[in-house]
Subunit: 343 residues, 2 copies
């Protein structure tokens, strides 16, 4: 049986502090494109790989109870992706099926079929969308905003990392709900996107605001009902005193803290008591049962152009490490995707 | 009409930092024990006054939107209390009714009847209980633990300020629910109370633990499902990494922070995301509709001796300021009550 080159992204060692491109290696491995006899696994050709902030945490040396997803030094890293089934030992999948789920950063992957989350049924939209608006980040925005945020028409919504994979959707969902929505992002161009592309009512560049509290007061003179939390740290600390009574904080991520060996202290938590705030961390894995309902909601909006999605696409697995690292410095504009193969 | 002496506790000025007894004055005012003609108010004889941590916040110079309860310099302070109705302009109350609600720190008070929360119907239990187990703190423990905590049999519960007005009840509710419960308190005697009086499975003196994280790991090798938050700051920071997935943190108060001009920073909030924790501040005022249900639950337990309650009672309004200040240094053992008059 012929062996094929299988380019891979390997984590050299556990990472402490800010990750660097050199923490990863590109290696050429080989693979036989044939399922081992009797295997129930699925052989995938990876098409699009997703760069997601949570991947940073998988690079840490595990402390306490092990995370089953944590990366192992000298092994291929893993993440969400869109793949084509080459061969399946699980009767639920067959050759040429398109799927999305948890795959590996390599050209071809042999994975347990349980790592496939969903078969892709709708292909009149860009396939890369299944790493973003139609994948985990889309469901994240949907579950976090609607299920945890419990938004009501006329409420005031603040989103951090607002032009990112999740944030740009939260803003658009907020507008569809009749909310006032303002986002923060890390460049003038991103702030322009918020207002001109995604329909936010306002936005600010947090890097150019000497006083985040003042920026929030300027945009929310009457306070914030829902803060969709993507960054943590200083932004969260500035938000807390600006929350309204019975405010909600769906805590999707705290990307500003992931690379710090000593996280920043949040001093304004007493406002959680004073304002009766509900702050709730969540993991999209707890909401996969909503995926069909989510698709019914979002597909028509995409087709009618009522919801847009900005992707930052790089070509080639060899450019994956730089793209992934770029997330933590905010280099990406919109959802960061790596193309491994177009089909 | 004869005028009567009306002893009062006056706040001298707004307080910054740790409050002192000398921030308050005891003065002799006078009052005519007759409702003004046409008034809808209620004239009360105050019997028991409640010392509650939140009162510290009312002493602050108001910043931002005013709190209608905030104290005014040179005026009588206010708080929860048990009172006897002397005369009522509201037909819902009549002479000799016993009531509990928001009253003032003085012998006699003329208050709008809306400040009365409930008429006291059950007097086979100590009347002072309506400042504690049968009053706001009791309902606080009930709503916070059962409504926000959603406890399940077998879960692990941690309570801070565990021998206090609310904490001692949370621990007993946890045991009634079949949970494992450990509390922290600020003296050896209080920790003994937890175990010997309230039936906690364990407890520790946070002042004698060099490493709160280690203390929690010792008592909760498998982690914490519910943290009933009364103190904030360092304790909260140590708790967060010890929470289990889908843990709940009803945030009742953060007494350790109330007297700090610069609050402590909480660095471990990313665990809210990692562990999908729900942290929720609450105010008992949102749960008064549960009070009848709460009484149905708790009165039989009190009468059968299945729930006990420890009070720290001082005699005389003139000793009120010291009792109130004592809360913030943890001088009280159990619910701090001030007796103004026995009937």
């Amino acid at each position: 049986m012929a062996q094929l080159r299988n380019k891979q992204v390997i984590l050299k060692d556990y990472v402490s502090g800010f990750p660097k491109e050199s923490d990863m290696n590109i290696v050429d491995s080989t693979i036989t494109l044939k399922l081992p006899q009797g295997s129930n696994d699925v052989l995938l050709k990876n098409l699009y790989l997703s760069c997601d902030p949570f991947m940073r945490n998988l690079m840490n040396k595990p402390q306490g109870p092990p995370n089953p997803l944590s990366y192992t030094p000298q092994s291929v890293i893993a993440g969400f992706g869109v793949s084509k089934v080459l061969e399946s030992g699980d009767p639920n999948y067959k050759e040429c099926d398109l799927v999305w789920g948890f795959s590996k950063w390599e050209e071809y992957s042999l994975v347990p079929s349980t790592q496939i989350l969903f078969k892709i049924e709708h292909t009149d939209v860009p396939l890369s969308y299944y790493t973003g608006i139609l994948g985990m980040p889309g469901l994240t925005a949907y579950a976090g905003f609607f299920e945890l945020g419990s938004p009501k028409k006329g409420e005031n919504v603040f989103v951090s990392a607002a032009s990112g994979a999740v944030g740009q959707l939260v803003g658009q969902f907020a507008k569809l709900t009749g909310c006032y929505v303002v986002g923060s992002a890390g460049s003038k161009d991103k702030v322009n996107l918020l207002k001109n592309k995604f329909g936010f009512d306002g936005g600010f560049n947090y890097k150019e605001e000497p006083d985040l509290n003042a920026a929030l007061k300027r945009h929310f003179p009457e306070g914030i009902d829902i803060y969709f939390e993507n960054v943590g740290g200083k932004t969260l600390d500035a938000v807390l005193p600006n929350m309204r009574v019975h405010g909600r904080i769906p805590a999707c991520g705290m990307i500003s803290q992931y690379n710090l060996t000593q996280p920043e202290g949040v001093t304004n938590l007493a406002h959680v008591v004073y304002k009766r705030i509900r702050m709730e961390g969540f993991n999209t894995a707890d909401f996969y049962h909503l995926y069909p309902k989510f698709l019914d909601f979002i597909l028509p909006h995409i087709r009618e152009g009522k919801i847009v999605y900005v992707e930052d696409i790089v070509e080639g697995l060899e450019n994956g490490p730089a793209a992934l690292i770029g997330l933590y410095g905010g280099r990406n504009v919109g959802k960061q995707v790596v193309v491994v193969a177009h089909e």
